[in-house]
Amino acid sequence: MAASIPDDIFFASITEINQKLKAKEFSAVELAKAFCARLEQLGPRYNALALSLRDKAVKAAKEVDGDIKRERFRGPLQGIPFGAKDLLAYAKHPTTWGAKPYAGQVFDYDATVLKKLTKTGGILAGKLAMVELAGGPSYRYASASLTGPGLNPWDPTRWSGGSSSGSGIAVAAGLVTYALGSETSGSILTPAAFCGVTGLRPTYGLVSRHGAMALSWTLDKIGPLARSAEDCGLILHDIAGADPEDPASAGKSYYYAPQFARDLKEIKVGFAPVDFSEWADPAARPDFAKALETVRSLGVQMEETKLPDFPYGPTIGTIISSEASAIFEPLIQSGDVNQLADQKQIAGLKAGLEIPAKDYLKAMRIRSLIQEGLRTLLDDYDVLVAPSRLGPAPKITQPLDRPSSDRPLPKERGMTTLIAAGNLAGLPALSLPCGFADGMPIAIQLVGRPYSENLLLTLGKFFQERTDWHKRRPALQG
């Protein structure tokens, strides 16, 4: 019954689809079948699909139709098809972590976030591709995945971004309405920026990671990639909350409440001009400049600032390498690590076992100062704004650990290390599409204090009321 679903629905917001379901313009089963058919048809073309869950999705959709018939409304996510990064356990189905050594792995329980979403009537349409082991300590090529390189729907010769590659692709191409991804250091913000969708990295501990592959116990977060800031808020509302099964759970709930936002005139936004004028790819500068002006036009107070000076890169690199190699020690010691696709990832995991305890502890002690430093900075600013990535997605063949241009580097660092800094401090971040460069999407990120998601999402909502970048659609191949 895919023909009964208008094409616009594949790119509609959660609220729009939910209203149409309640108005019985189409049934949840029709919707699920249409999305699953699209996911199965287009997903493999972009290397976005790890596993179709069509049968389970249709079965769940039948229950939703029954609930709607009896006017048992469970919230805006009821009946909405979504996808989940293949690092989330889904009982009795393969969960590959994007990596050949785990291709046959099956858990007997569901990740907490999937339990929460299915409880409110969410329809899990499929598991989505990812960079192997969520990127591990590092990787060199976009092809570092069991399913091949994530191909960008805006230009399949370019990378989707990772490690939540399938999540970014599937939302951008209208294969699902939203997707769950995970971020240790950039894995939600990067594919969201490169694919032109909205991505939210929640505060560390706000969303349970029970049932998710661990890459770094002290850095991993689960969050949504979706069509808009508002959709991210609705999703976070359902997936956040205390979970005794996650030792890092903050025990906090989250209520999406943009109606209670502070007066924007009171909001102080910090930015570093050098990020937008010198660090950014030249092709991206015009739209980044317009994005800054749009933020300013919201009525907030804009002030120049920069990040405190810390060795963010070596700190986060040491922490991720140490924790990832400890987590995957059995894989490394067994030799099965050599089945991974990316030589740099294999070498990084092996080498990580040799990091001395003193280095890990030094990094964690510096991290304490980084948290303190960012807390001090965010005493003065409510929000920091910077490019999510400095330019558009690279070609899939380009080594990711090599610069894409030989431009001389600016002397001032600005906030170019905001992804590492924000993750080290556990801060929430929202990536908003803000234009194009070389025909590819670019985005800005908003970063705030811990648990300031409502402020970030409100700013994002106002930004998206004044722009339509998040509504642009790629011309899909075939």
């Binding site: 300590p137 590092s138 060199r140 505060t203 560390y204 501990g205 706000l206 002290t218 890092a248 903050a250 405190p308 000076d309 810390f310 060795p311 890169g313 070596p314 700190t315 690199g317 040491t318 390498s321 030589q343 740099k344 294999i346 070498a347 990084g348 092996k350 080498a351 990580g352 040799e354 990091i355 001395p356 280095d359 502890l361 030094k362 990094a363 964690m364 002690r365 510096i366 991290r367 304490s368 100062l369 948290q371 303190e372 430093g373 001090t376 080594p399 650990d401 090599r402 610069p403 580097l409 002397k411 660092r413 401090a425 556990g426 801060l427 811990p450 648990y451």
Partner: protein
Amino acid sequence: MVPMSTKLTRRQLAAALSTSAVLLAQAPAPLPSNPDEELKAAKDTIQQNSAQLAKFDLPMATEPAIHFKA
């Protein structure tokens, strides 16, 4: 025994910050061409990170972010 506080004054924090060098990107080395070179490159990266961390002077009272709270 009362544990030492990890709460830093702004002055202590400023002192710690002033000792860290701004890291500018270095010219990239050629891509490794085999697994042995790749492993050596990975170990070199760890050494470089270690050297950067070693340059950073920490107040003795600074505890690791083990009880990590955002």
